[in-house]
Amino acid sequence: MFNFKPDRTQYPAADADGKLEIDLETGKYLKLWQGPNHPGITGNMSVELTVCGDEVVEGKTHVGYLHRGFEKLMERRTFIQVFPIVCRVCVPEPDFNEYCYAAAVEDLAGIEVPEYATWMRTLILEMGRFNSYMMFLGGIGGALGLGITGQWMTYVRDLMLDRFEELTGARIYHMFILPGGVRGHLPEGFEARMEEVLSTAERYLDDIDKVMFSNSVFKTRTKGVGVIDPKLFEPYGVTGPNARAGGVAKDLRKDSPYLVYDQLDFEVATATDSDIFARATVRRGDVQTSIDLIRQILRKMPKDGPAMARIPNVLHWKIPRGETYIKGECSRGEYGYYLVTDGTGYPRRINVRGPSYTHAMALLEHLIPGTNISDVAALMVSLHTYPPEIER
């Protein structure tokens, strides 16, 4: 095997403040832009790399390619009109936005959600998490040249989208979790069709284990690469699988149970090495947890009951002055909505707290120096970031 040992003397010196002295005129350095076109599944963001040979000495993240001013748009919409917008903050796992927003409104408006709806919401969130992981598992392989995982996982994701379609009426932006509850009940025979998807998924995941996790190439390129020192978790706001891969068994589903998670049996997947491989295995474990949870929820959830609480007439729904923060464990870590109301029919402020905000900016910039150019994509994917959360 090749063992590349970079010549550290070529590295730029740092001044007293730790600022690098990089002079492009010397010809020792090159600026290389990774992105903003979609390199893998990292979404439309770019990293401005400064490289020296194939070693990256500095990386600056650039976002804004997907900025639509969601938070501002929401301030101009009534509480019900915000509902169709929120899901658009995150394509792969939109449901968290729907849940957090709905729960925040319910909290400030004093609405009690019917039991059926809380089970349904949990189901939807786990289905969404499953899909998000399908994109991750496909993407992490893709970032390392393992194209087949992307194809398989896209197929499995599509099967789950079929279930989303029949349950919610849409494949990507489900718009199913409404403030007050959910829009409907399970269709006839849903459980059986879901089971078919889950067992198909398990078969494919088994293949993923063989082709990816047991693959020496994959292991070589991910083990010991992109290590996040667990000491950085707090300063950099690292949550979710990224932290769990470093031995921090924190999962809001356990630590701060919401919806019906306190009525479900599950274990939180963890790993210790805090490298790309560890982060991938944690997610592989999480997929299985989601599959088990979906089965469990379908078994345990009430067969019937109201899907919606009584809510005020949405056309002139005013919510008293107040503020709240609603959070949950999404596939990438802590997802939250900070909602401030001022007594009018419009939100005063909505702030979306997506895990990518910290993972893809400060943390990524911290991790990049010293990596090989060819590992940057895998590193980015391993952090499992979705740029729209950054630039809401």
Binding site: R77, T78, I80, Q81, V82, F83, P84, I85, I148, Y155, D162, E165, E166, L167, T168, G169, A170, Y173, M175, G180, R183, G184, H185, P187, D207, K210, V211, M212, S214, N215, S216, K219, T220, A307, M308, R310, I311, P312, N313, V314, L315, H316
Partner: protein, 598 residues
């Protein structure tokens, strides 16, 4: 890392002979049953309320006229047109739809080179307009309240022994909840004869701004306290909320606003009349039409004198409507505001007896005739002449005046309108006070579904023990040898209302009944007492099928004389109010025109 990890990945070569999972031709792949595809709209049940437009966060919906769809009561005639360049397929429009007419198909594949093709009115000609599949909301609408907030009423056993007001009125909390249900589509405004700004004053209730609410009421109705209690509330029959639930309690919300504003504050809010113009207008009849006109004219600075034959102002509002529906103090407050505008009401002054039409014509710039329909009709079936047969309007008037009226243990009322209910329920109360029980039978030509009375009147009458026999035609007041009334003989009515809502009663002589009672009260049609006009003026005026002919602006054929209210149009308080405004406007225009001429 060993050999195993090099070889394991190759095990997935087993898939090499698998069938591909891709779909060859995705165009035409049917979407799920719940899929939110292109919209569908059932044109016949859509009422064009525009709630879909109001909720659309993308501003993708316009309300547009559609060929072949007429504007009519409870239907604006508009239909939603959707711009699919903006639609985000959230289906809030479907969820909020008041009638459930708007749904979605599961059609989502459509290719067209013309972008404008993707902006159309669903429900006209798109191929999927009748498809079964596609998103429909589960059950009834949940985005606005379905059920009316319950109105507390005195229970029948309590209310039957007195004339106290039955309806409690909403508390603030209840009113806010009821007002919350309104979607502000405004379909009701066209139905209200006075075109009251209903959504606006309901919004004032929601905002708890009763001053604003009261000002809005007074823009169109100086009898809001009266109408808040006894209006026939036709507005509620065109309310969008009735399609999947109860219509908004528009009438009770109106009452609630007035209830919440103290009388002195009311006077403050209405303010002072304009500077005097020096013009004088005489109004004959202090009913709702006359007094509304008086209010408008006085507010504009004209001198107004209202001539009233009876001892109190109010007309049928006082002498026709019983106290348990409309307490006299409520009426007095409405009239009080009108008098505060400087209107002089001369009661006990009958035109034709105490003052002549000629004198009015001479002494005033204009005269408005608003005499109402105060004479009761008789069926004139055999036996109606003589003692023991009364007319409802006369009895009601005497009860209001505090006169002693004969109260038999059993009596029969003829008629199925509100006056019949009023007299039946009033007599029932008097019977309760005198005998401790109710003995009222009510017969009407109409079948119960075609009663002219309000539904709640029928329900409440029955609750109070009034026995109702519908589709019975009176044939004879039965008397014994001494001539005393013993009952009413009726035949069953076999005909029905025609498509135009007209009715030619025909009888089944084989189905005869005698309804026992020692008094028969006729509560059928009413007519105007136009004798005050005297012969010369009656001859000079033009008439229209029994009523003084007026034009659209309430002018009679005599340039100095105007007419309004039940005597020329009818049939209820709110129509009289609307007439009052209109005739006042005309009179003011005429006065202004004369000003210019001079």
């Amino acid at each position: 890392m060993g050999l195993r990890e090099v070889l394991t990945p190759f095990t997935v070569w087993k898939h090499v002979f698998d069938e591909p999972v891709t779909i060859k031709n995705p165009i035409g792949r049917p979407a799920a049953d719940r899929y939110r595809g292109f919209h569908q709209n059932d044109m016949a049940s859509c009422i064009g309320c525009g709630t879909c437009e109001a909720i659309c966060q993308n501003a993708a919906i316009d309300m547009v006229p559609v060929d072949g769809i007429e504007t009519r009561t409870g239907d604006s005639g508009l239909r939603p047109q959707i711009d699919y360049g903006r639609c985000c397929w959230c289906a809030l429009c479907v969820d909020v739809c008041m009638t459930g007419s708007l749904t979605m198909s599961n059609e989502y594949t459509w290719v067209d080179t013309d972008p404008d093709a993707f902006r159309f009115v669903p429900g006209l000609e798109e191929p999927w307009k009748d498809d079964e599949e596609g998103y429909e909301r589960e059950g009834k609408r949940v985005l606005s309240g379905i059920e009316r907030i319950h109105m507390e009423e005195m229970p029948p056993e309590t209310r039957i022994s007195n004339f106290e007001e039955i309806v409690d009125g909403y508390s603030r909390a209840e009113a806010i909840l009821e007002a919350d249900r309104c979607v502000e589509c405004g379909l009701c405004v066209a139905t209200c004869p006075a075109h009251m700004s209903i959504p606006d004053y309901i919004a004032a209730v929601r905002d708890q701004d009763y001053d604003r609410g009261l000002e809005i009421l007074y823009e169109t109705n100086p009898f809001s306290e009266v109408c808040g209690r006894v209006c026939t509330h036709k507005c509620e029959t065109s309310c969008a909320a009735l399609h999947e639930g109860d219509p908004i309690a528009i009438r009770w919300l109106k009452r609630h606003i007035v209830d919440e504003v103290p009388f002195d504050r009311r006077l403050e809010l209405i303010g002072k009349p304009a500077a005097p113009t020096g013009r004088k207008v005489a109004i004959i009849g202090a009913g709702p039409a006359g007094l509304t006109a008086a209010f408008d004219l006085a507010r504009a600075g004209h001198g107004v004198v209202v001539f009233e034959a009876l001892s109190h102002a109010g007309g049928m509002m006082r002498y026709g409507i019983p106290e348990y529906r409309l307490p006299y103090e409520a009426l007095d407050r409405d009239i009080g505001v009108i008098e505060a505008m400087g209107v002089e009401i001369r009661t006990n002054c009958r035109v034709g007896r105490d003052v002549t039409m000629d004198a009015l014509r001479r002494d005033y710039d204009s005269v408005i005739l608003a005499i109402g329909l105060n004479m009761g009709r008789s069926t004139r079936v055999p036996g109606t002449e003589g003692p023991g047969v009364e007319k409802a309007v006369d009895l009601l008037r005497r009860i209001t005046d505090g006169e002693e009226v004969p109260v038999p243990e059993r009596l029969v009322v003829i008629g199925g309108g509100n006056v019949a209910m009023d007299i039946a329920r009033s007599m029932a109360r008097l019977q309760m006070q005198k005998y401790g029980r109710v003995g009222v039978t009510l017969t009407a030509l109409e079948d119960i579904d075609h009663f002219l009375a309000d539904r709640e009147e029928i329900v409440e009458s029955r609750e109070e023990g009034v026995q109702i026999f519908d589709a019975r035609g009176p044939q004879e007041v039965v008397r014994d040898e001494s001539g005393a009334v013993t009952g009413l003989r009726t035949w069953r009515v076999k005909s029905i209302f025609d498509a135009d809502g007209r009715f030619a009663p025909a009888y089944d002589e084989g189905d005869e009944q005698i309804h026992e009672g020692t008094m028969v009260i006729e509560a059928i049609g009413q007519m105007a007492d136009t004798s005050l006009l005297e012969e010369a003026l009656t001859e000079a005026l033009e008439w229209n099928r029994g009523r003084i002919r007026i034009d659209g602006a309430f002018r009679t054929s005599e340039p100095w004389l105007f007419a309004a209210g039940d005597a020329v149009k009818g049939p209820d308080v709110i129509n009289a109010v609307a007439d009052g405004h209109r005739v006042a406007r005309t009179v003011m225009d005429e006065l202004a025109a004369r000003e210019v001429m001079q």
